[in-house]
């Protein structure tokens, strides 16, 4: 072993605790195996991936058990830290290792568990994909990266994992890269996140420069020790938070996440809902002392702070956007964004435990929802994700999918007694309890909107009359076939791509003989519904690890040692406080249901086409459909020739501030590049160089007349030079 272990104080703990570092290592190794030999294996490498995930899961379970014991043992549970010197340069050491505490344990368990399920699910879902092996390789590598990150002992290792996840996200979003749209989405995702990474690099540099260590425990201890100047912490916190904004799709860098749905559904469910996107939240939680001190969270009288504000805004705008999506995956994507907003807000208002707990619960039900969507697309809507045109009335055809969907939706909406309720309401309560009234309100509104858009989605998907592919209109379905994965933009795929995908469908059809006149949709096979059932179960019960109403605070106990700062005691739970949220949830459900029945149902209603009739609502609707014009207000403005100053201002802001992230690289950067290259580089700098050469030759030409060829002139020159020289020197020297 080339890594020399550092003489670090490591508490003697169980074997699993000591060897948690194995958990990332296993998938990393199996990634190599898949890449090298995957194609030759019977299951094309899938088995390796799944095996490694299961191994990880076993270890993680053991780890969890021992951690619980560990916590029960010690009053103040010490994290189990191991560190090996990886390399050193100029006296500073860069280590690899593990920092195992409640938070890490929770994340490890979560990631291994979800990855296992999703990979099993994928075996069926991406069967016969031309890059089957690549898919599993990337998935496994992703898990390796994520696990390395959550168990990171120091920030360098953290960055390592963080970036690897970014890479995998790029590869998996662009998995079907034959279509330009998909690779564009992948590029957008990577670059947007990368913009955030500036913050990560700078933040880590600041922390290291100021504290002199990369070790997470060290940094946390240092942050609360009171020796660092407040401004250093503030800058570090801001810088790091930029990274979190990018990674966790917070406003204003959220635009990449919906586009990321271009990837295969398992990817969306694993990376872009349950695990990778929470990395930002995780970072805040991980280095909470830095943020808490740096941003003065919970300082008496503080009404707002950066994290809470960003979180809050994200909740609302994302939720609103979810209303107007016709693509089921995008509904879920925006819902994810808004749930991430909840977590951020929770951390922002000092509700650390609920926020982290929300990570935990959210993972299960959101993953389940995505997998349901995938299941629907797989066998229900013929690879289309268009709720309006290709779904509807599927509840009878796909009972299990429907059931699990409903459970998870309930959890997401935070219906009492399911997991979402215990985590989300705690966040909202925390906001109220810590006197962040604004965010308390935002949280409530968010809850209302969540229920509403989920109801809409549910109605469109499972109720009403079967439409489009769901109804078996095959031709109609086919041109959605790839468009489903070509989200967000519907671009015609090329022949070869078509071919390779259809091969995937053909047997799906074969296995589902079509009945005359009605959809061919049926329930998905076991490999798909199995994971759904497991996740749904957890979507209900995972909440009871920390159910305030029943004074269960296990989770809290297991994990609180990771906070690193003393937070105000959480409020005692009273149903009274829960009433507003519950009522709002109910309200949201009813309102939305009513509207949906009216707008989408068979029964005729004057609400139909309201958006077309009422200009006000129409405007609002359009505004949402266009994602607040964040992406394309530009074109709209130009097309309609609106020269209104406000529009101009909005346009400017949108272009140069909000959406500048991608466009700056996409267009602005390119343009600047062109300009600099053409004008500065080629004209000025290069011109100067070539100019001198020309000048030299020019002077040469000017000098040629001297060489006239006439002897007398030569003589004259000779003598005059001599004479002048002599004269000058005579005068000078006498």
């Amino acid at each position: 072993m080339f890594l020399a272990e550092e003489a670090g104080a490591t508490v003697a703990a169980g074997w699993f605790l000591e060897h948690a570092w194995l958990i990332p290592v296993i998938p990393a190794v199996s990634f190599a195996i898949i890449i090298l030999f995957g194609k030759k294996l019977p299951m094309k490498g899938a088995e390796v991936g799944i095996a490694s995930m299961m191994a990880g899961l076993v270890l993680a379970t053991g780890l969890t058990y021992q951690w619980i014991v560990h916590v029960r043992g010690a009053a103040e549970a010490e994290p189990v830290i191991k560190s090996w010197v990886w390399w050193q340069s100029g006296g500073m050491k860069f280590g690899l290792g593990q920092h195992i505490d409640g938070l890490a344990v929770m994340a490890l368990l979560l990631v291994t568990f979800i990855s296992t399920l999703v990979q099993i699910y994928s075996v069926e879902y991406v069967r016969d994909d031309r890059r089957y092996t690549h898919f599993f390789a990337a998935m496994t590598l992703f898990s390796a990266g994520m696990l390395a990150m959550v168990s990171a002992e120091n920030m360098v290792q953290f960055i390592l994992g963080w970036e690897i996840m970014g890479l995998c996200s790029f590869l998996l979003i662009g998995h079907w890269w034959e279509e330009r749209a998909n690779s564009e989405a992948a590029l957008k995702a990577f670059l947007t996140v990368r913009v955030g990474d500036i913050g990560l690099l700078v933040g880590v540099a600041i922390l290291f420069g100021a504290s002199g260590t990369f070790s997470i425990s060290g940094i946390n201890a240092w942050a609360v020790s009171g020796q660092p100047s407040h401004s250093v912490l503030l800058w570090a916190a801001i810088a790091l938070f930029i990274a979190c904004i990018g990674k966790s799709g917070q406003f204003p860098l959220h635009t990449w996440l919906p586009d990321a749905m271009a990837g295969p559904t398992p990817v969306s469910s694993l990376l872009h809902s349950s695990t990778m996107v929470v990395a930002g939240v995780f970072l805040v939680a991980r280095l909470y002392p830095v943020f808490h001190t740096g941003l003065d969270i919970n300082v008496a009288g503080q009404q707002v702070n950066l994290i809470a504000v960003i979180g809050g805004i994200t909740i609302l705008i994302a939720a609103a956007l979810a209303f107007v999506q016709n693509d089921i995956k995008k509904v879920l994507a925006y819902s994810t964004v808004s749930q991430l907003g909840y977590m951020m807000m929770g951390l922002g208002v000092g509700a650390w435990v609920p926020a982290v707990f929300h990570i935990f619960t959210h993972a299960f039900f959101k993953c389940c929802l995505f997998l349901c969507a995938g299941s629907v697309a797989h066998t229900g809507s013929h690879h289309s994700f268009d709720m309006k045109n290709d779904m509807g009335g599927l509840r009878k055809k796909m009972p299990i999918t429907f059931g699990t969907w409903m459970v998870s939706t309930a959890a997401l909406c935070g219906l009492p007694l399911v997991s979402g309720f215990f985590s989300k309401d705690e966040i909202i309560d925390g906001a109220k309890h810590n006197n962040y009234t604004v965010f308390f309100v935002i949280g409530l509104i968010g809850a209302f909107m969540t229920t509403a858009y989920m109801t809409r989605a549910t109605y469109l998907t499972f109720f009403g009359k079967a439409r489009g592919a769901a109804a078996g209109e095959h031709a109609h379905a086919d041109d959605h076939a790839h468009a489903a994965d070509a989200a967000p933009h519907r671009v015609e795929g090329s022949a070869s791509d078509e071919a390779q995908r259809v091969s995937g469908q053909s047997e799906a059809e074969a296995s589902h003989p079509r009945q005359q006149g009605f959809g061919w949709a049926t329930e998905s096979p076991l490999l798909i519904v199995g994971p759904l059932l497991i996740l749904a179960t957890l979507a209900i019960f995972s909440g009871y690890l920390n159910a305030a109403p029943f004074h269960i605070e296990k989770f809290h106990h297991w994990i609180e040692s990771s906070i690193g700062v003393s937070l105000p005691e959480a409020a005692e739970f009273e149903w009274i406080n829960a009433i507003p949220s519950i009522t709002l949830v109910a309200a949201g459900f009813l309102v939305s249901l009513f509207l949906c029945r009216a707008v989408f149902g068979e029964a005729d209603s004057k609400l139909k086409g309201l958006t077309e009739r009422s200009r006000l609502l129409g405007a609002g609707h359009r505004f949402l459909v266009n994602k607040y014009y964040l992406d394309d207000l530009y074109e709209k403005v130009i097309v309609h020739g609106v020269a209104h100053p406000i529009a101009q201002a909005a346009y400017w802001v949108n272009q140069h501030v909000i959406d500048a992230t991608v466009d700056a690289f996409g267009r602005g950067g390119k343009r600047t590049g062109d300009w600099v290259y053409k004008n500065i580089d080629q004209r000025v700098v290069d011109g100067a160089v070539n100019g001198t050469g020309a000048a030299a030759r020019g002077t040469g030409g000017a000098l040629r007349p001297i060489q006239s060829g006439k002897v007398n002139q030569y003589g004259a020159l000779l003598f005059s030079a001599a004479a002048i020289g002599a004269l000058v020197l005579v005068i000078v020297n006498t």
């Binding site: 040629r704 060829g709 006439k710 003598f719």
Partner: protein, 104 residues
């Protein structure tokens, strides 16, 4: 002092010679002008020799030098005239202006 007159004459001859070299287009004339310069030099040398021989008789450096110059000048002129003849044979003219094939 007597010497100055010689020197003056020498200087004058020198200038005339230089003028001739620069102004004359005829090769032979140029040759002659150069001869003028050489003779001005000789004149100088002889004059100076007188000057220095005044306090130590037997000082003959200047005269010797002059003798050498005369001898070598003869050789030079010989070569020069030969060349002039050469040109004349090749192009029936000894005007220097026509000798400007090579320039630039």
């Amino acid at each position: 002092m007597l010497v100055n007159n010689f020197l003056l004459l020498g200087a004058v001859l020198f200038c005339i010679g230089v003028y001739g070299v620069i102004a004359r287009k005829n090769a032979v004339m140029v040759l002659m002008s150069i001869e003028l310069i050489l003779n001005s030099v000789n004149l100088n040398l002889l004059a100076f020799n007188q000057l220095w021989a005044k306090d130590n008789p037997g000082h003959v450096d200047g005269n010797t030098f002059a003798l050498y110059i005369i001898a070598i000048a003869a050789a030079e002129v010989g070569v020069g005239l030969a060349m002039v003849l050469l040109i004349f044979r090749n192009r029936k003219s000894i005007s220097l202006d026509e000798l400007s094939e090579m320039k630039g």
